[in-house]
Symmetry: C2
């Protein structure tokens, strides 16, 4: 089947549906990407063909718009597609046999000049010297037996220090035996989902909008991800409770992602009441809770009922995702099941666990967070000022916390077009709509991450954003 | 239900079967352990009760003897059971609420004085200084962007250096794009099995005897692990070919685990012919192939047909399992599927990947292996001499390679009793029978690993082993 430009819409969707595969073949956006790439490689879509807008293709495929924009974005990066401002995304055949296999060396990867996509901390602030010193100290003094297999559940020293740290910084009530070291929040959620499934739980409520990757992890574990409406007071507990079969929910109470709200106190209590009533479990993603700029961070929900909450956290949003260290705090029953369900789960390397433990023990980790908190607060203030100055019609929402904010745009502005127009200016921003599992009640705006934005770049980045928005009205 | 000593056999098996759960609850030995522990905790088995011999309980439960011996062994370690020489394993109630949660700090873990279980390299020889220097050099010079998410598939620099190293040292034919960095052989096999399954492959042939953990990984991925008879010439290709539905096989051609044999040339060719005929794939576990003491190692099978072989390897058996670095070499089609099937797969931390890359690049890794090879060869010679001297009736088998050998024992010696009697002397050895998926045609003997045995301990360890054997005749 060949897709011409005149009837590209229906035929393309039909062709893709034929090659989309099943849920066993990976996350949906990957399958869309693969099917699209295969269609381009095999010549079923010709060079120059205009692809349908993502919203339209998503409707035709019956999938989320995010899956399509993500697939388009990756294929642009691989050279199969090209995105031009004010015009449709088109097929640009690249002669590469397989761009995936010819990934350029990291230094050569074309990075946007200004990266305002959410999800990264300040990579320039990585504590290089402290980390190198900590690794050297550990590798020098470790018993030789530490070079054997890492103990399941994590190194006992790190588990103890994490329990202490979480107690004093996040109000977490846990002993070392309740902490399981893992490699990331994604890894932790995947492992807990496997355990949930083995316990007969078939669905997990997910904040809508929410973090797409975790919805995918839940689906990949064979559980249904059920969208639960979420607003500026956090997740709607009454909507959650209305779902008769739900016994698990994934939530971001300290700082909702992406809306930037805090779960209001009455809903915190209601959420835990719900969990007790249905004999359920609350999965608390505490991803960036250390960073609150207007007051002390809200303590973790876990501390209110350690028997009903599983807390997830990693170093990815606070130090660096390159370290691959995360942790799960769970009630004893869940911890035991976690350890028994997957004895071969990958542990972070022992030396890295010990180096992080040393930073916790010496107070260097607390100092690092404190310095980051000041830096991010100032950067957020600068960004908010610059946005108010250059884009006075676009209000900012979300509490003064974390590493991102929401820029609300008039509905007359096509946010998808803004993302593309910004990309053309080497500026990466995220479309709020893309974090919705369904288009119903989708919020309109952009998610702007400032964690990894150089302070000196704030003004110029906002200027480019303004130009991209003006072009997309 | 309470199990008294007089009718413990039938009742215990019945009670355990009730609580064993399904395959979704984890590997079988874990489920046996959990059911047994629950029965002890809940008082369904009284203190002092003699448990049935593992062979008998395995028959009653319809599972492999290995699952039972492993469960017994873990519960001994946790204090629920006690094993005494010349007598049955008995219940010893420990007052610990949950030994899993009260895991002692690593330094306090009771380790056997002499560890001859296979699977560990010389942990005393970990290149501490080189590793610390490499980490410092990388953390100091890395671009700040390296502290972002590690690139899927592994760092391009490591992939390139691994492709070069594998080409010169193992005859592997691969470019950087064919190498996927993972965290261990277990992790690699799990990932490839998920991909196989998505491709409609439902079973994997496994060498019998073979490495138990990988059989479990295959089962956990939802594939059948089909035992294929294996002898001193390696896996029986004709038996493999006789299984009409098989299109995948997991094998250790360079050094069969545990028998210590090499796949003979005619079977190497036959194996690849089979793979082509059935449009199948050979999973080559190259775990300790660098260590051959009588001649140059046999090159990897992968080099003979890179389109049909997926090679697995990690640093666990050659440097340290604490590093958590492994790799997969696969044909382009499989590599693409691997990357697309699991975008969220855990990568080793970037700095560790870069540190290992630096050791490969500088030649330090080759020098480390060369030094290890000399040390292991001398240690193996010393062990073989000592065994010949102290146990002249027990022949050693397996080629002069790797980190383990097989000690053949007369059938009148109960090898399971030897393992227990050795444990009482703080000597850990492995029962060859335990690596069989079925008892049919089980080989009789012990697997002795010398990778992590101190040179000075060889004589004493063999002396203790002789005493354990004499006690178990």
């Amino acid at each position: 089947m060949r897709v011409s430009q005149t009837n590209s819409r229906t035929n393309l969707a039909g062709d893709l549906l034929l090659h989309l595969g099943g849920s066993g073949d990976g996350p949906l956006h990957e399958r869309v990407k693969r099917a699209l790439r295969a269609a381009i490689r095999d010549g079923r879509i010709e060079v120059g063909t205009a692809l349908p807008p993502s919203r339209q293709l998503a409707a035709d495929l019956g999938c989320s718009r995010w899956a399509v924009t993500e697939a388009y974005g990756q294929l642009v990066a691989e050279g199969y597609l090209e995105a031009r401002t004010g015009s449709a995304t088109r097929v640009r055949w690249s002669n590469a046999a397989d761009a995936d296999e010819r990934r350029p060396a990291a230094g050569q990867t074309p990075l946007p000049r200004f990266d305002l996509a959410p999800g990264l901390p300040d990579l320039r602030a990585f504590p290089r010297r402290r980390w190198a010193d900590a690794v050297r100290a550990q590798v020098t003094t470790a018993e030789f037996t530490e070079f054997g297999y890492p103990p399941p559940g994590g190194h006992p020293r790190l588990r103890r220090l994490l329990a202490e740290y979480l107690g004093r910084s996040r109000g977490v009530v846990a002993g070392p035996q309740d902490v399981t070291v893992c490699t990331s929040v994604t890894d932790g959620v995947r492992r807990v989902c496997q355990t949930l499934r083995a316990q007969g739980i078939t669905a997990v409520g997910c904040e809508e909008p929410g973090w797409t990757r975790l919805r995918e992890v839940i689906s990949a574990a064979g559980l249904r991800a059920v969208p639960i409406p979420t607003d500026d007071g956090g997740v709607h507990v009454e909507d959650l409770a209305a779902q008769a079969d739900l016994r698990a929910v994934l939530t971001t109470p300290a700082h909702q992602f992406p809306l930037g709200s805090v779960l209001v106190p009455e809903r915190r209590a209601a959420l835990l009441h719900w969990a007790r009533r249905v004999d359920g479990v609350v999965l608390e993603d505490d991803y960036d809770a250390e960073f609150r700029y207007d007051r002390r961070p809200v303590a973790a929900l876990q501390g209110m009922d350690p028997s009903r909450v599983v807390l997830f956290k990693s170093l990815s949003k606070v130090v660096s995702p390159a370290l691959g260290i995360g942790w799960i705090v769970a009630p004893p029953r869940w911890t035991a099941l976690l350890h028994e369900t997957d004895q071969t789960a990958t542990q972070p390397p022992t030396l890295d666990q010990l180096a992080f433990a040393a930073l916790l023990e010496s107070g260097a980790y607390d100092r690092h967070l404190r310095a980051c908190r000041h830096r991010y607060r100032d950067r957020r203030d600068a960004l908010v000022r610059s946005l108010a100055d250059q884009l006075p019609d676009a209000p900012v929402s979300g509490i003064a916390a974390g590493l991102h904010l929401i820029l609300r745009l008039p509905v007359t502005v096509n946010t998808e077009a803004v993302v593309r127009a910004a990309a053309d200016r080497s500026l990466r921003v995220a479309d709020l709509t893309a974090y919705h599992a369904t288009d119903a009640r989708a919020e309109h705006g952009l998610v702007l991450g400032y964690g990894n934005l150089a302070d000196s770049a704030v003004e110029e980045a906002v200027g480019l954003l303004r130009a991209a928005i003006e072009e997309s009205r």
